[in-house]
Amino acid sequence: MARGSVAVTTERCKGCGFCVEFCPTKVLALSSAFNAKGYHAPYMEDPDKCSGCNLCGMYCPDFAIYGYRFPKETGEPAEGKQQ
């Protein structure tokens, strides 16, 4: 069961792959689809493994991905909780 998820702003992504490589649980993969600038943005290939640790966000040079934790009870996204 996933403890978190990621928000991707696809159009900001430049497809560098940092997020994919450095996700500790290998949640992400680069999509085969292109964004408007022709880059392959990441998607959650294995969403269940996501802890919402935001390491992907820390690595992203283009502020295009952000990992967040679900609050324990609701399973809904929690505003303002990170790290």
Partner: protein, 301 residues
């Protein structure tokens, strides 16, 4: 699974960015933006009021950082971020002044200022993004380019040994000297936080890939290859004597916090030495009667 998850989720990094200027001009796989994440989290975690933070950059790819941050930002001339920041800090000691610039800017054209700001122990945090090349101008050799590396002006390899910036600023007297690579996002964040909470001249070198102009000429095809290379070659040695931390091509990348010493900064020393002879900020007459704003009313500077 869709490629976009579109929740009303707020990335705190955006709190320090001018989102109307994003996307940045930086290339895919450039590490400058990654260092900005560490800086953003470090800054936000200190609780320093953002309106009292000023960012000063020189010229170059890293010099663009000031323009993407929301705080008061100054994009000055090539090499002169440190002296500008010095003036800013001296005339308003309330400000947290951060210099964010590149290796060419800070150590070559601006090298003299780096030495003397460290010597004076000027109360500045200097973040030097070291991509080992002049990137903005097209990949010419820098003082930091490792000997033998290929650049557009050293097509047969550089004939000069590289500068060890950490050693230089340590020798000049900096209070705090550290080095990380952008692979070390968490350690970098922690070190930046620590440096932000300290007084005096604090210097953090951040190795960052320039896939476009350094990497592809030196067997590092893209940003990711450089990141993996950092991961492989880095060795954390906190407290390492800085003369043992040279960055040679293909050699070990020594990272960590090297120097953390207590030394009074310039203004502290000035106040100590002048003692009762110093009259800080005597009252000025109403400075702008037409606008009806006395200085005390609009800011606390």
């Amino acid at each position: 699974m869709s490629t976009t998850v579109d929740f009303p989720i707020h990335n705190p990094v955006e709190d320090i960015l001018r989102m109307d200027r994003i996307p940045t001009i930086w290339c895919p796989g450039c590490g400058i933006g990654t260092s900005v994440n560490s800086f953003a989290y470090a800054l936000l975690s200190t609780g320093i009021e953002l309106k009292k933070v000023a960012i000063v950059s020189g010229i170059g790819c890293s010099g663009r950082v000031s323009g993407y941050t929301k705080m008061d930002s100054f994009h000055v001339t090539h090499g002169r971020a440190i002296p500008f920041a010095t003036g800013l800090k001296l005339a308003n000691p309330e400000l947290t002044v951060v210099v964010y610039s590149g290796d060419g800017d800070l150590t070559s054209i601006g090298g003299n200022h780096l030495i003397h700001a460290a010597r004076r122990n000027m109360d500045l945090l200097v973040v030097c993004v070291n991509n080992m090349i002049y990137a903005m101008t097209g990949g010419q050799a820098a003082a930091t380019t490792p000997g033998a590396a290929i650049s557009t002006t050293t097509p047969y390899g550089s004939f000069e040994p590289e500068l060890n910036i950490a050693h230089l600023v340590d020798a000049a007297g900096a209070s705090f000297v550290a080095r990380w690579t952008v692979f070390h996002v968490k350690m970098l964040e922690k070190t930046m936080k620590e440096a932000l909470s300290k007084k005096g001249f604090r210097f953090i070198e951040v190795l960052s890939p320039c896939p476009t102009l350094y990497g592809r000429r030196n067997n590092l095809a893209d940003g990711l290859a450089a990141m993996k290379d950092y991961k492989e070659r880095s060795k954390i040695r906190n407290g390492a004597p800085t003369h043992e931390t040279a960055l040679v091509q293909g050699g070990e990348i020594v990272v960590g916090k090297f120097v953390d010493r207590e030394r009074p900064d310039y203004l502290t020393l000035m106040r100590q030495q002048l003692g009762a002879n110093y009259h800080p900020l005597p009252p000025q007459p109403d400075e702008n009667p037409e606008a009806g704003v006395a200085k005390e009313d609009c800011c606390s500077c």
